[in-house]
């Protein structure tokens, strides 16, 4: 688009022809009031608040839907513009209750702000105001629809961004109201953004209701650690507690949205289950002690139990910060042990996914084709799914290979429900088809793969696209042929010029890689450690019954009488108390400084928004002091940023490309075990409101009739402790377990 000159309030401004006027004024910092306009939503032009005077136009024009053209002269502040804005403001306030003193939006309300600037101080409206009955739309969003000004941002958000139109404007004229159709509650995984986009107090945060005014809180920039995106947020705090979380704009990460998991998991921080005081176990009984006593006990325990350096192991959950990963591995390596791992949920480390992502998050929306393998992307990585949805809306074709049919919120070109033990074979067929159409030699290991029609189609899509991506999800990590799948994808991507997005390990697992939190030479991986009966462990925020793939073996190994276990935990847990010898209370999300590394490798550092409750301390500090007490050199850090910069000066690249590909179909029933979306980590498990949503209630072991018959299971039974749901949407010989171990209780 050509550069043109326009004049706004007497100033010459350069802009692109066809841009909407409001986009130009926003960029130039010229204030134009608005309600319905939102930069990420379609233009509705229904509130009329942004009326400005355009010279030559007979009537004032809405800035949000007026495309600019060369030489246009606009007045945003002259009498005509001001009079129209004032008139619109008066109309909007006719039915607004003006109940600001009891409204949660008070103090951060666009209507309040605009009314201050453009409204009249006295209302001329003496008739009765209308009242709209509220509908209960779920555990996260509180409605007060009498306050609604019908801007339809929430309606457009649902239809355009969340991908499920849930709110709508029913009735008309005086009777029009914004409401969901059926009173089932809002189901979107991004629903909380409706609270952010609502310019008035019609939609507010339910868990935050009647808590505080926005000006009473401090807003601290932070990064959410539940998924591979690292969405930017503001943690709003009051008297040392996180009271609310809202989205922070970062175009290259989360744009302006965040997932409900990132928004509402903070409730877990104040759960009664928090671990608050250091404890040591003396002759089988727990004693609450001071920090120095607990740490001394830990150090003496290590000295006594670790007779050989390789008898010590360190394991961490994937939610640790980059600095915590780094310090813990540095301690281990300092003592001479290489037994370090974070891949607790992997069945066999030698047979799992090893792929590097090579596409940026923002780049995802520009792809013209995507092949998604083994992922329910929408619930697992909501913001990544949102980028892919944008690509889909601008014409990208999306193919899926999954073991179960999921609800995608965009059009799927071909959804292939394939049993886990057939995944490698399917990918092999695709590779073979790619090689054949390129007239390249077909390697021996692809010999048995038959090029099916589906494989040809999937292969052609990848070959024919200029900008395709292969997305690999977490359902594949424990596939019997995970390594082969990983290698096949690498081959396919290379041959078809596709990029790769590996979302198979979530949370802050990328940081573990950056901090080299994996076994070094001669070191044991997680499963080998547990099998080797080590004498001592340092465990970072681990809850074995949820975190380990081999949880029974893990608990057994850790419970061994002569195994000394130091547990750093943010929450109490009976199983952890059972096997630990020292319990050190640590800070949870938003209570510690540190860094998150997202799927594209972007390191985002954050500070602590609040102090950890009671005696709990940030884990990086605990680890530093532990290292000092162990008299290890090189732990003179004054703050976590010094740790971060030390990490940034190192580089551990360890991508092993392996030709090991096995495509023979292994018989038997495959179980895909996954934590349900709102129980992915210890904090979300303790977030009470999230559990009351539709997504929070996901807890099922899905299988088809044939599989159920084979396993002699009927509807109503439990499988692996999870209620069975029989559905033909699951591939044959596959059980898809989505387990929710949410922890109830007071927050």
């Amino acid at each position: 688009m050509a550069d043109i000159e326009i004049e706004i309030d007497g100033n010459i401004i350069n802009a692109k022809a066809g841009e909407m006027l409001i986009a130009v004024t926003d960029r130039e910092g010229i204030s134009v009031p608005r309600f319905c306009y939102h930069k990420k939503l379609s233009i509705a032009a229904n509130c009329r608040m942004c009326l400005v005077d355009v010279e030559g136009a007979p009537k004032p024009q809405p800035a949000c839907s007026t495309p600019i053209s060369d030489g246009m002269k606009i007045h945003t502040q002259n009498d005509k513009a001001k009079a129209s804005q004032k008139a619109v403001m008066e109309f909007l306030l006719i039915n607004h209750p003006l109940d600001c003193p009891i409204c949660d939006q008070g103090g951060e309300c666009e209507l309040q702000d605009v009314a201050m600037d453009h409204g009249s101080d006295v209302s001329r409206f003496t008739e009765g105001k209308r009242i709209v009955a509220d509908s209960d739309i779920g555990a996260l969003i509180q409605t007060d629809m009498t306050r609604c000004i019908h801007c339809t941002r929430c309606v457009r958000f649902g239809a355009e961004v969340a991908g499920i139109m849930e709110m709508g404007g029913t009735g008309r004229g005086e009777d029009m109201k914004i409401e969901p159709f059926l009173a089932e509650g809002i189901q979107s995984e991004l629903s909380g953004n409706m609270i952010d986009v609502c310019p008035v107090g019609a939609l507010t945060s339910k868990p935050f209701r009647y808590e505080l005014r926005s000006w009473q809180m401090n807003a601290v920039s932070n990064v959410a650690r539940h998924d591979l995106v690292g969405s930017n947020i503001y943690t709003q705090t009051y008297k040392g507690r996180v009271k609310r979380i809202v989205a922070k704009d970062n175009e290259s990460v989360n744009e302006t949205w965040i997932s409900d998991r990132d928004r509402f998991s903070y409730e877990g921080l104040s759960h009664e289950n928090r671990l608050l005081v250091p404890k040591i176990k003396v002759e089988g009984a727990w004693q609450e002690v001071e920090w120095n006593v607990a740490l001394d006990f830990a150090v003496r325990g290590l000295e006594k139990n670790v007779r050989q350096a390789d008898q010590l192991g360190a394991l961490s959950s994937n939610t640790a910060t980059l600095e915590e990963f780094y310090l813990l591995q540095k301690i281990l390596r300092g003592t001479g042990s290489e037994n370090i791992d974070h891949r607790l949920n992997v069945k066999d480390i030698d047979n799992t996914i090893s792929l590097e992502s090579n596409i940026k998050l923002a780049g995802l929306e520009g792809v013209d084709h995507a092949l998604v393998i083994g992922s329910n992307l929408r619930l697992e990585q909501p913001m990544i799914n949102h980028r892919l949805r944008k690509a889909s809306l601008s014409g990208a074709s999306i193919d899926v290979i999954n073991a179960m049919a999921f609800d995608f919120n965009y059009r799927i070109n071909s959804e292939n429900i394939i049993a886990p033990n057939q995944t490698a074979l399917t990918l092999a067929s695709i590779l073979k088809s790619v090689l054949k159409s390129a007239h390249t030699e077909v390697p021996e290991y692809l010999g048995n793969a038959e090029v099916t029609e589906i494989a040809t189609q999937l292969a052609n899509q990848l070959t024919d696209s200029d900008n395709s991506v292969i997305i690999l999800g977490e359902h594949v990590i424990n596939n019997p042929q995970a390594l082969s799948i990983s290698n096949l994808i690498s081959e396919i991507a290379q041959k078809t010029n596709s990029t790769i997005l590996n979302v198979s390990a979530t949370a802050n697992s990328m940081a573990a890689g950056l901090a080299h939190f994996v076994p070094g030479k001669g070191g044991l991986d997680v499963n080998a450690m547990l099998a080797a009966n080590l004498n001592a462990y340092i465990l970072l925020d681990i809850y074995p019954q949820y975190d380990f793939h081999h949880s029974v073996q893990a608990i057994e190994a850790l419970s061994n009488d002569d195994t000394f276990v130091i547990s750093l935990n943010s929450f109490k847990d009976d199983v952890v108390s059972e096997y630990s010898d020292v319990l050190l209370p640590i800070a949870s999300f938003y209570e510690t400084s540190g860094s998150h590394v997202n799927v594209e490798g972007k390191v985002q550092s954050f500070t602590a928004a609040v102090n950890a409750p009671s005696d709990a301390k940030p884990a990086w500090k605990v680890l530093k002091v532990l290292a000092d007490l162990l008299e290890l050199p090189g732990f003179h850090y004054a703050d976590s940023m010094q740790v971060t910069s030390e990490i940034m000066h190192k580089s551990y690249k360890q991508h092993v490309h392996d030709e090991n590909i096995d495509i023979t179909v292994k018989r038997g029933v495959n179980v895909i075990w996954q934590k349900s979306p709102y129980a992915v980590d210890v904090l979300s498990r303790h977030a009470v409101s999230l559990q009351d949503t539709k997504i929070g209630q996901i807890n099922s072991a899905s299988m088809n009739k044939a599989t159920a018959k084979k396993l002699e299971i009927t509807q109503g039974d439990n499988y692996l402790g999870v209620p069975v749901s029989i559905s033909e949407s699951v591939a044959n010989s596959c059980v898809f377990v989505n387990a929710n171990h949410a922890i109830r209780g007071q927050s």
Binding site: M165, G168, G169, P180
Partner: protein
């Protein structure tokens, strides 16, 4: 929820629009489904139309609640659609509606006990020349008076 006959009728309408614009048939579909459900639409009927046209339920509900010709509660065999817009109002429609309500023993929006008649206030039907007026079925009745109304209503079976 939607009968095969109704589906066929809806398909006729769908065929009139481009293949990716099935939702264009929503108004006719609602009309057809309403006709087969004793002239009113339940949330289930609205959802059925939505499913049939691949639309979100709320989008169909928006249409169904916007227009006066869709009913959301049970109606009688005959619906008297009484205009109460400006011309009719100036010519005394308010009094005539009150008269009709009194005669039938029901308020607007309610159905007579025998299930025969209900009265609905509607916006301008474009017959101001004959105001005050109402519509029963496809028939307009104009220049109404209390006597004339009694005669018409008594003739309804």
């Amino acid at each position: 929820m939607i009968s095969t006959t109704a589906k066929k009728q809806i398909d006729n309408w769908i065929a009139k629009y481009p293949t990716d614009r099935k939702s264009s048939a929503v108004m006719e579909a609602l009309k057809i489904v309403q006709a087969e459900n004793e002239n009113s639409l339940t949330p289930e009927a609205i959802q059925a139309v939505a499913d049939y046209l691949d639309m979100p339920g709320i989008s169909v509900a928006e249409v169904a609640t916007f227009y006066e010709n869709y009913n959301h509660r049970p109606v009688g065999k005959h619906t008297i659609r009484f205009c109460h817009n400006i011309s009719c109002m100036l010519n005394g429609s308010d009094d005539l509606i009150a008269h009709l309500e009194k005669k039938l023993g029901v308020k607007t929006g309610e159905v007579t006990k025998d299930g025969l008649i209900n009265v609905k206030k509607v916006e301008c039907l474009g017959a101001c020349v004959g105001a005050p007026m109402f519509q029963i079925g496809d028939q307009y009745y104009e220049n109404l008076t209390a006597d004339k109304i009694d005669e018409i209503v008594d003739g309804l079976k």
